[in-house]
Structure formats: C-alpha cells, structure tokens
C-alpha cells in the first residue's frame, strides 16, 4: 500500500496538453476517485499511473521512489479496464490464473510447444490453484471457472476482471469506469461489491468515473478534474458542501448547486429587482458576487414571505419534487427573465407551474464565488 505522490504530472499530445500539472498526495489505503466529465483526462491519468502511457513531464512517487519509466508489472498495480479486457480464448480459470502464470514465466518459455507445456504445468501447480480458487470463491465465480468469457453476462465478466486483478495481490488497484457498461441495477450491486472488496483487501484504490453517485458513495477522497486540470481535492463531503469553484458546484449534486448573480451588501444580497435575500450573516465580499445554494437548501413558502418567485415547472419524483423557479427579474422585464433556481422539496409539491410563491434560503448554507475567477470565496 504505497503513499502516492504526483508532482506536476503533465501529458501532452503534440501541441495539445491533456493533463496540466497534476499534483496531489494520496495516503495509504485511500479509495481515491478521479471524477470529471468525459474527455477531462481522468482515464489518461490512470493510464499514466499504470505505466500504460508515458507522461510528458513531472514525476509519480510510490513511497518516495520515483516510478516513471517502470513497466506496469514493476509498479505492483492491477488494472480493471472499462471494457473488462478478458482473454476471450481462455477459460475463466485461465483468465484469473494468467497473472500468476506470468509471474513464474521464463523467457525461454516463449518457444512454441514449450510455451503451452510450461503454461499448463504452472496453471496446475497447487499454489496457483489455491490462489485462483480463493479469489473465485470470494467473487462467487467457482461454478463458471471452465467457461469462456463470451458465455458470461456483463456482471460476471466484470467479476472475472476484478478477480484477475485481485489474484495478483497488488499494492494498488486501478479501476477505469468499471461499471459503465452495466445496467442500473447491476451497477448498484457491483458498486457495493467493490466497496466491500476495498474494505476486505485494505489496499489503495484509484477509481475513475464520470458518475458522481459512484464517486460520492465509494470515495474516501475525490479529485474533480476538468480540461486536464485538478479543480478540487477533498472528501466527498468537502467537495459537495464546499465546492472550490462554480464548475465543481455545478458538476457535483443532482440537481446541481444553484449559482445566482447578486450584489452583496453587508448582511444581505440584492437582486436586480431590488429584493433582498437575507443572509443571516456577512457576505465575504461586497459588490457583484455569485451566490451558491444547493436545491435542498431552498425553501418554498407562501407568496407573501421571502423572495417572490414564479414556478416554471415541477418534476414530481415521488419522494421529492424538483421545482424550477424564476426570481429577481427587474420590473417590466419579459416573462421568464430573471435568475433561475431549482428547489428540492419533500413529497409532492403543492405548487403548480405558473404559481407565484416565496422562496427562502437556509442560513449558513451559502457558498460564495468570485464573479470573475469563479473560485470560492468562503
């Protein structure tokens, strides 16, 4: 279980830079999730960590030793690919045993005929058999050890891929969107299986996903990336409640955080129509700022209370409802103008589209952002 240190890791393709100065410290035994939208460089970063892709500059250290240039095998890592990458011509047993066979493989075993004899002998050794059976038992793969990957379901293939990673007993597990090809039900099941596995093996995991639910539920630490840059490093709670900038605020959370342009003055925030949002505290800065508030911290009240808003639409999700509201439009402006805001309310909403209601914000739940840099102020 290495302490991992990323020092200004940069990856370029020709003139375009896909990873900009990635620097972070990852403690032993962390479940780190690299989260970001498609094309943000998270999978590329994972391949750099694995040694499957070279970095253009920077360094990665495992326990203080620079591992740049080491072959994947020498890094003591295991990699679970998004597409499973099972060996289709081998049985499940041979797929799982393959890393163990390679550990015992000598260069002269490459000679045809000797190769197949050597592999057969190694796969049948008691040590390999015991390890494969242990892992197969752990992942409930015993009944399908003699089957080929093409006869397995998506979830079973995924388990074989995890088993192949597990059998090597690596120091670090790298998982590249391993659940993205599964249906919603299976994804939920596999999510908890991977979390259980993490607790059982007590090793470091680096997990790439664009799914914030996976990130929030599995991670002990998250790195949110966009355009090849780190936007925030923190625990799921920190990232959710204290986003570092408006990108993270909008990326994390479903529905995302509301960002409203206001003019802060003392203990209030002025809207363009002259109404004032009571802050219950002091804004970190006066003047034009961005006010961030999560939809669950927006309360819908009677029209004569709080800030006046018009309900644009209501999404009834059963246990809760999402209201889309417009507020703060200057008098005389066209219908629908003003700030848009989403509110999450429990149960079915009694408000209907077109209703005028009042909205209030829970004090102490605000996140302030600089209007120019978009970075958090508090």
């Amino acid at each position: 279980m290495p302490h991992i240190s990323f020092q200004d890791v940069t990856k370029k393709f020709g003139k375009s830079t896909v990873i900009h100065g990635f620097s972070a410290e990852i403690e032993d035994g962390e479940f780190l999730v690299l989260l970001g939208p498609s094309g943000c460089g998270k999978s590329k970063m994972l391949r750099v960590i694995a040694g499957l892709a070279d970095m253009s500059s920077g360094a990665i250290e495992f326990d203080g030793t620079v591992i740049n240039g080491l072959e994947p095998k020498e890094r003591k890592i295991a990699f679970v690919f998004q597409s499973y990458a099972l060996y289709p011509h081998m049985s499940v047993y041979d797929n799982i045993a393959f890393p163990l066979i390679m550990d015992r493989f000598k260069s002269w075993y490459h000679v045809p005929i000797i190769n197949s004899i050597a592999r057969r002998i190694i796969r049948n050794t008691a040590e390999v058999k015991t390890k494969v059976m242990e892992v197969a038992q752990m992942l409930e793969l015993e009944p399908m050890l003699s089957r080929r990957p093409r006869t397995l379901s998506g979830g079973q293939r995924q388990r074989v891929a995890v088993a192949r990673a597990l059998v090597r007993d690596p120091d670090l597990y790298l998982l590249d969107e391993p659940l993205s090809n599964l249906d919603a039900k299976l994804r939920t099941q596999m999510r908890s299986e991977i979390t259980d596995l993490y607790k059982k093996v007590k090793k470091s995991f680096i997990y790439v996903t664009h799914d914030q639910v996976e990130a929030m539920t599995m991670a002990t630490k998250m790195i949110v990336m966009n355009d090849g840059e780190i936007r925030q490093i923190g625990t799921p709670d920190e990232v959710y409640h204290s986003p570092a900038d408006t990108f993270v605020a909008k990326f994390i959370g479903s529905p995302p955080m509301n960002i409203v342009e206001v003019t802060a003055s003392g203990t209030g925030a002025d809207l363009p129509n002259g109404e004032k949002i009571a802050l219950g505290g002091k804004a970190p800065k006066t003047g034009a700022v961005l006010l961030g508030v999560r939809p669950e911290h927006v309360r819908v009240v009677d029209a004569n209370k709080g800030v006046s808003a018009v309900v644009e639409s209501v999404e009834n999700l059963g246990a809760e409802s999402i209201l889309s509201l417009t507020f703060g439009a200057p008098k005389g402006s066209a219908e629908g103008k003003g700030s848009k805001i989403l509110a999450k309310v429990g149960g079915s909403s009694i408000a209907r589209a077109g209703d005028t209601v009042g909205i209030e914000f829970e004090p102490g739940t605000f996140r302030w952002f600089d209007a120019d840099s978009q970075s958090a102020l508090n």
Partner: protein, 278 residues
C-alpha cells in the same frame, strides 16, 4: 400456403446449389474419368461418360512410371516452406504494422502492397540473374524464397486486418499482468487471429503448391521439378499420355484439398466475442 411457399423456396435454393456443385465438380469428375480411359477411346472412339472402374488397378503403375512421388515431394517442400516462412514473417510484420508507430510505416505497407501490382513474369529475368549470383538456381530453397516474396504480403494484409480488430486493451491487460511484447503476440494475439492465420496459410500453401513459372525457369534438374512442371513436361510434341496426366493431376489436387480440410476448422469467426463489453 405460407408453408408451401417456404418449402418451394428451400427446394429452389437447394436446386441452385446442386447446380453449382455439378458445374464445379464436373472437371474433377472428368479428370477422374479420363484417367481411366484408354488411348484408343481418347484419341479414337471417344470417351465413355461412365468411368471404367475396372482399370483402377492400372493407375498406380502408370504413376510410378512417371515418378509422381518425387514430383509431389518437391511440391510439398516448396508449399510447406512458403507457408511456414510466410507465416513467421507475416505474423511479425502484421503485428508491427498494426500496433507499433515507426517512421516509414505507411511506406512499408505500400512497398509490401506494391509487390502485388507487378506480374511475376516481369520479374523472372531479374530474379534469374539474382538467383544465379547467389547460387539459388536449381534449388528448391530458392523457389521457396521467390514464392514467399510474393505470397507473404497477402498474408500480412489478411493478418493485419484481423489484428486491427482486436481491442488493444486486451494486450494492455496482458502487459499489466506481466506479459512481454513477445508473449502478447504469441499468447494473446496469435490465438485470437487463428481464423485469419488459417486463411493466410491456405492461400500461401496453394501459392507454393501451384508454383510453376519460377520452377519452370530456374530448375533445370528433372529430379527437382515440382509436380506442376512435371505434369507440363508430359505433353509431348507427338504424343501425350492423357490418362496418365489426368491421374497425376488428380493426385496433384488431393494434398491441397487435404490441407484445406485440415485448416478449415480454424476458419471460423466470432472468436473474440465476449472479450470486451456487450
């Protein structure tokens, strides 16, 4: 009504297939028939449509007289040599062209392909001079080399196309598991492209087996003739032992058919199914 229509459709398609089979198989049947005909029938009264099976016993003697076994052995040497050499070179070349980035990759592909643009006859004279310099005239090894040069590029393109279809993650996965590049080729890629290897082997084997032009030009010693050249030499200016030629020709086609049957099991698709998502 629907059922009748379906039955008629099946019958019609079977009838067409039988028709094709008859047209394709007739030359082979006629070859067999001719091999059992007498000279009097062939050059006088005309050949009967039904074969004279009572003359089968005479065929081995006729073939022995023309030394068919030696001719077939030479053909087998050339065909096997071309197949093995092409296989070894083509697999490595195809893997390199499919997976590695290197300067001149496009040019290498073009040069390989350009060998197919030139007719073999055009190269007979320069090759003769080259082979004379290297002492490869009157040598079966020389014929193996010459034919490999023409057959191997075809195998390269067949195998490269198959390798291109293998998701690169499978090899990366093997790399993470500690497999060397040679191991990735031998243990992962080659088993996955077996159908294409078999197809390439069939083409290369037939190229070597049917070799005529270079053998006819470069081989002067009769004992080194492959069967194709040997058969052609039976045609005399004044007489041609047609039944013997046909018997030898029939025997000449058999090894190629046997080789095809041996490898056709490998020519199946869908071997990579289940490797990746889906």
């Amino acid at each position: 009504m629907k059922k009748i229509r379906k039955v008629v459709a099946i019958l019609a398609s079977r009838l067409v297939l039988v028709g094709f089979l008859l047209v394709s198989a007739f030359p082979i049947y006629w070859m067999f028939n001719t091999s059992l005909a007498s000279d009097a029938e062939l050059f006088g009264t005309g050949q009967d449509f039904a074969p004279h099976l009572e003359r089968v016993g005479e065929v081995p003697q006729k073939l022995e007289d023309v030394g068919i076994l030696g001719l077939l052995a030479n053909s087998a040497f050339i065909a096997t040599g071309v197949t093995v050499l092409s296989f070894l070179l083509a697999v490595m070349a195809a893997y390199a062209l499919s997976r590695f980035k290197f300067h001149g990759k496009g040019l290498s592909g073009f040069v390989l392909f350009s060998t197919q643009m030139m007719p073999e006859a055009l190269l007979v004279v320069p090759l003769f001079a080259l082979f004379a310099t290297f002492g490869l005239l009157n040598s079966l090894t020389g014929l193996v080399l010459a034919n490999t040069a023409f057959s191997m590029p075809v195998a390269v393109f067949i195998i490269k196309t198959a390798i291109d279809k293998i998701p690169y993650e499978i090899e990366e996965s093997a790399r993470v598991d500690g497999c060397s590049p040679a191991g990735q080729l031998g243990m992962i890629v080659v088993p996955l492209v077996l159908p294409s290897l078999a197809a390439a082997a069939v083409i290369n084997f037939f190229d070597g087996w049917n070799e005529f032009l270079f053998a006819n030009t470069f081989i002067r010693q009769q004992e080194l003739w492959p069967a194709s050249v040997g058969l052609a030499q039976f045609m005399g200016q004044y007489s041609t032992p047609l039944s013997t030629v046909m018997a030898a020709a029939l025997l000449f086609t058999l090894p190629a058919i046997v080789f095809f049957l041996l490898v056709q099991r490998q020519i199946v698709s869908g071997l990579t199914a289940g490797a990746v998502k889906g």
